[in-house]
Symmetry: C2
């Protein structure tokens, strides 16, 4: 956010009410449009309608102009595409940039796509270098070049610097608005310098101490300025070993450090010891939220962030990769059944019972996988404790296998009055749950060792194995013992 | 965290190295233990071993004493149960309280269970009222009463106040460490008052302005003290309409407000306008992380937060409810197959193909559900845009149904050289994907309307319907058209 613009009053408790009012205005607006269409014959009618029409837009504008950018962003996300554009057009020109920073990635991409080039250049022109860097990847290169023409060399440099780091590194998330002081200054000098400023950058809980060559020396917490004698030198008050990051540090690790140590801001220092930027808690919170939302959507089989009101075609494409993969695994797993079609013809009850074995195996394995994926994300699983984990999960699998195997065995026996069928069912359940426990640990661990994100795809692979092997074990045992 | 204790140096980059070193020390320690056991015969040997033994423990103690509580918490979480207790016992007495605040809920519960009562009372005695309130629910009432005996009336009052609010309300998360000033004071008076303090409470980015009756008047950002003339009155510098919360506000809404408006702290004001506490970004970040982790684990069918190294019995119990529910739905869905056993006996290929229809239906429906659950969590789905969403998802379902229906139909035709079978397969896939889209929206929306958390259980219910109806549609169509 640019720190010069006076922020409008945020309204955490009324934002849903604002949305409702805006939807009502949009409805009235559309109603008038329909009337105008129906009534092409009478020019006088048209004039009246068009005045009413305009009046609704003015009301909409007044409403929007009083809202905080984050609240407008929320409202845009909750509106279907055609309404969204109408609302966007009613904002004040200078609201566009701030709102663009606050919307979700999916809506941001939509705005960038739908705005005409001059409008887009104007909106992007409102952002400072730091915020522009957040959006730069989503914008076409030539548009970005046009926006940068009006910027000074420092802004252009900053953009190049941060964009050189991948999205999941600290260098990409850091911001350039740092306040620095020198070791040999005294508190009163720093206070005097600060009084010359209009405001401090948001989330400033500490100043950074550097030497003449901009080498990082330490941090000076703001309270130190307030609590100490104005004659004290900075060198006596600064902390020389704060938590600091390198621009190439993993953003996930930095996020975890912010949570663990309750940080508000932290210096970013490069390998030559120079202070290059600052990481703040608001960027980190946004990063955590985005990542965790993306994880949940990915686990459910959506490739990326999907706009709630994306066009059907775009939505379908976002889901195809996953469905295609699942279709392949389902086909292959079903071939395990194909092997035993003769057996099924003789004992058709097997066809009825087999989805139970496969299904519960998948559920149980996914429980293990979820636990292991979280353990890996928190860095809690090490080579030394892996075996411990495997044995524990096999133990849980054994216990569950005995309990649920007995349950389904009993059910099958009673339903079909066939004791051997019950026995085969119980044995197959036990074996499939043991396999699920083993695979539930092995699959995410292997993906992690191979340097892949274990949250993505572990569940597909696991369900594939518990389905295919579940069918195979059950029908195989039935062929051996029941025919 | 108590604000008086000097925090030890956090080590974001070395924490995994610390863990490795501690595991090595523990291994050496265990090795010696085994040797001592084997060699009971020689007292001299025993003495030597016991000295070596002690030396490892001393090394472990030195290591632990230098670590930040949050880093020790991480290490405890990554250790199997027996090592964990040994490590806990080697910490300095005064480290216990801070570490207990930092560990995950599952490990916290384990510590509280395993510590003997006097040790637990001692650890809890180190915490201030605010932190004690965070843990109070996990502690037995009589233990809590014993801890409170040594506290003053203010601490006891605070505990009663916060514990009266449920875990998901602002009142439960707020803290009592607020710095207040008066409207009629001048900047220099406030500065003078602050200089009398040792430190500010963590995450203090603003002071709170109250009147003589502790009624909330506004906030004074710390920078205002630094940037303005010391002669200015507070009334001229304070902001009178900041974001504030009521103790009964939903914690989720407060968390979203912290993210939206990039807050570091916010006042909590009761219905009579009195300032009762303060909400800070560190509490909010912990809340967000805990909630999102719990959501992921719940979606995978774990009832609560599960310790990675929980005992087998406790783990199994944590998973039974979900497995039992799934077993019931799987049984019922399988009865849909049972209705058509005659049909399967005549065309056994149906048994092979039916899991494909059910599986892809479930995958596709879960994609829709994930999107709707997120939209509901963000408050983006309103009565006004629900129909829009339903039609969009039905559109995606239709498109997917045509594409994937044709694919599986073609596959079935080629594999079994049976065109009508392919046709039935394609039609069943299309119908099941349309059903999945409709249910994918309807199930989470209905749960939300009924006041239940749509993230929990939506997926089970959806998979139940897509499985059962998938089997029914496919086998039903086959019975009508293929026999």
């Amino acid at each position: 956010m640019t720190d010069t613009a006076a922020p409008l009053r945020p309204s955490p408790h009324q934002v849903e009410e604002h949305l409702r009012q805006i939807i009502k205005l949009l409805e009235k607006h559309r109603l008038v449009e329909t009337l105008v269409d129906r009534d092409r014959a009478s020019p006088r009618h048209q004039l009246i309608e068009s005045l009413v029409h305009r009046q609704h837009l003015v009301e909409l504008q007044l409403k929007l102009h009083s809202l905080h950018p984050a609240d407008i962003a929320y409202i845009l996300e909750a509106l279907p595409l055609e309404d969204r554009l109408l609302v966007w057009r009613q904002m004040r020109d200078e609201q566009g940039g701030e709102v663009l920073l606050e919307v979700s990635d999916a809506v941001r991409d939509w705005v960038i796509e739908v705005l005409e080039r001059p409008a887009l250049v104007k909106v992007l022109g409102q952002l400072d270098a730091d915020d522009l860097a957040d959006l730069a990847e989503a914008v076409a290169e030539d548009v970005l070049a046009e926006v940068l023409q009006t910027r000074n060399a420092r802004d252009r440099d900053w953009l190049q610097t941060t964009m050189a780091y991948p999205e999941d590194q600290v260098g990409h998330l850091m911001s350039p608005d740092i306040l620095t002081v020198r070791e040999n200054q005294r508190v009163e000098q720093v206070l005097w310098l600060l009084r010359g400023r209009e405001a401090l950058p948001p989330n400033t809980d500490q100043l950074f101490v550097v030497d003449a060559r901009h080498s990082f020396k330490g941090v000076l917490p703001l309270p130190a300025l307030l609590l100490n004698d104005p004659q004290q030198p900075i060198s006596a008050l600064m902390m020389t070993d704060p938590v600091l990051f390198s621009p190439t540090d993993d953003a996930d690790d930095a996020a975890r450090a912010f949570e663990r140590y309750d940080l508000v801001s932290a210096p970013v220092v490069n390998e030559r010891g120079k202070l290059v930027g600052r990481l703040t808690v608001d960027e980190v919170m946004d990063y955590i939220r985005e990542e965790s939302e993306e994880d949940v959507l990915n686990m459910a089989g959506l490739q990326g962030d999907e706009d709630l009101f994306a066009p059907i075609w775009a939505s379908a494409r976002n889901r195809w990769l996953w469905l295609a993969v699942n279709l392949c695994t389902a086909f292959i797993a079903s071939r395990a059944i194909g092997l035993f079609e003769d057996t099924i013809t003789q004992i058709v009850a097997l066809a009825t019972l087999m989805p139970i074995i496969a299904g519960i195996g998948g559920n149980s394995g996914n429980q293990t996988t979820a636990l292991v994926v979280r353990g890996l994300a928190l860095g809690e699983i090490t080579p030394e404790n892996t075996w411990h984990l495997v044995f524990k999960e096999l133990g849980v699998g054994l216990l569950n296998g005995l309990v649920w195997g007995a349950t389904v065995g009993l059910f099958a026996w009673l339903l079909y009055r066939n004791l051997p069928l019950g026995g085969v069912m119980a044995a197959a359940m036990l074996l499939n749950l043991l396999l699920a426990a083993l695979m539930g640990v092995a699959i995410p661990l292997t993906m992690h060792r191979l340097g892949r994100d274990p949250a993505m795809g572990s569940s597909v692979l696991l369900t594939f194995i518990t389905d295919g092997m579940g069918f195979f074990i059950f029908l195989g045992l039935a062929t051996v013992f029941l025919l």
